[in-house]
């Protein structure tokens, strides 16, 4: 009666997706904050961190767009 298979599938996919998004965003935020503080001492290192952080936020943006793609049926 209850579709355990699809429930477990939904649970696992949601867990992985949420964890991935939060991890990427958190790492990006940490790097961004570190970059802001590192710039005074070691500008090169700060720049590198900033670049990585921006890339990670770009990935987050792509994930948001993927979310929009999933939501809008016309795209399927």
């Amino acid at each position: 009666m209850i579709e355990w298979e699809s429930f477990v599938l939904v649970a696992v996919v949601s867990l992985v997706a949420a964890s991935v998004v939060v991890t990427i965003a958190s790492v990006g935020i940490r790097l961004l904050e570190n970059a802001a503080h590192a710039r005074r001492g070691d500008p090169g290192r700060g720049k590198a961190r900033l670049a990585v952080a921006r890339t990670l936020f770009g990935v987050c943006g792509a994930l948001v767009l993927f979310g929009v793609y999933l939501i809008v049926p016309a795209f399927h």
Binding site: L9, S14, A25, V27, I29, H37
Partner: protein, 404 residues
């Protein structure tokens, strides 16, 4: 009769919108990621857009819960009318109490109650009731809470360190995106239900050919009704979800919304439908547990849980009574409409005595803060009559809640 059902359906759509604003916008409002007015405007626009985007209008009114159509029973406009009355009453009652209950469950409950009276218990499919409503309702909050718990742990672990507090404020930017996705998903789902109800009523009334999709005006008015409801904002429910369950920090808010978004998208695409309301509330509880398990106010969470359990039966009972009266004929329907309108007016009047709006939605109102009665209608007259002072919470930054 058909016109009456259409009007009621639109009103239900409106209550659906303002009941569910909290799902997406309670946490960004609570953390100050979005100002309350801005948040409900974004939610309203995305609901409006979402309603036009989706083409998957419900083909059956009840989604298979009621054995309707060929071989089953014929759902009459009167039953839909009574069902809608039950659903609206319950939605408004839970709003008055500030409880986030599922609007879909209220709608299904109302229809079930009306159909049982109108066509007998045999018209209900108990298997579908269990697998589509009861089990998901039990599982959804636990699942969402578990996911949000993990997500919050990750967010805190990764950003721990010297500049943790400043870093975690940056999650506010992310909250804007995650909550917007929840709003858009809501618009594509929930407005469709009302469109389905109206379209099937029009078909039943002979105003539209069977098997055709919704007319453009139906789509347009449904979209407008849900957007308007969202914009008006169920501030009471936003306050419960945003600050009543636990004090949400930006990192928690982001983790909770990311979990809600992921769970809703996964559930709609992998075929295990879950209630947005239950997922969103479960996520907030999980996010609270993820930071500090003592920060969750279990009293509030318990009340929400009780509301979920009784939503369907309560809406069903009210609809059943409405259907009983409606079966007396035109006078019965008139009596229903009159009684419904009176109760709705009384509830709005009751709400005005203890207003919750964009000025005090973050719960930093000295009078109501931490009193468990803040979400009860039976507030002592001394508190109810004393207008809460206007605190410009919207413009002041949220107090630091990250240190725990």
């Amino acid at each position: 009769m058909v016109a009456l059902v259409v009007v009621l359906a639109l009103f239900f759509d409106f209550t659906n919108g303002f009941h569910d604003t909290a799902n997406a916008m309670a946490t960004p409002i609570a953390t100050g990621a979005l100002k309350p007015r801005v948040a409900v405007s974004i939610a309203a626009i995305l609901n409006l857009v979402g309603a036009f985007l989706s083409t998957e209008v419900a083909r059956t009114i009840s989604g298979g819960l009621i054995r309707e159509g060929g071989g089953g029973i014929q759902i009459t406009p009167t039953m839909i009318f009574a069902g809608l009355i039950g659903a609206i009453m319950w939605n408004l009652a839970t709003w008055l109490l500030g409880l986030p209950s599922s609007s879909s469950h209220a709608l299904f409950g109302g229809l079930i109650g009306a159909v049982i009276v109108g066509a007998g218990v045999g018209a209900i499919d108990p298997g579908v009731l269990l697998s589509k409503i009861v089990f998901p309702a039990v599982l959804a909050p636990f699942m969402a809470a578990g996911i949000a718990f993990v997500a919050t742990k990750i967010a805190y672990r990764v950003t721990s360190g010297h500049h943790a507090h400043a870093a975690r404020q940056r999650f506010r930017v992310g909250q804007v995106f995650t909550s917007s996705l929840v709003s858009l998903a809501h618009g594509t789902n929930d407005a469709q239900k009302t469109m389905g109800v109206i379209t099937l009523t029009l078909i039943a009334g002979g105003f539209q050919a069977a098997g055709t999709g919704p007319e453009f005006w139906v789509i347009a008015v449904c979209a407008l009704a849900i957007a308007l409801g969202t914009y008006v904002g169920g501030w009471r429910i936003i306050r419960t979800v945003g600050t009543g369950i636990t004090d949400v920090s930006p990192a928690q808010g982001f983790a909770a919304e990311a979990s809600t978004t992921a769970t809703i998208l996964a559930s709609t695409h992998l075929g295990f439908a879950l209630s947005t309301t239950q997922v969103a509330s479960g996520s907030v509880i999980g996010a609270g547990l993820g930071r500090n398990r003592h920060s969750v106010r279990w009293r509030v969470a318990g009340r929400i849980g009780v509301a979920w359990l009784v939503t369907l039966p309560c809406a069903a009972i009210m609809a059943a009574i409405a259907e009983l009266v409606a079966r007396l004929g035109p006078w019965g329907i008139a009596a229903d409409a009159l009684a419904g309108a009176t109760v709705i007016m009384l509830m709005f009047r009751r709400a005005r005595k203890n207003p919750v709006n964009h000025t005090n939605v973050t719960g930093e109102v000295p009078v109501a803060k931490h009193t468990p009665s803040m979400m009860l209608p039976k507030v002592p007259p001394s508190i109810a009559s004393a207008k809460p002072p206007k605190v410009p919470t919207a413009d002041t930054p949220t107090p630091h809640r990250d240190q725990a």
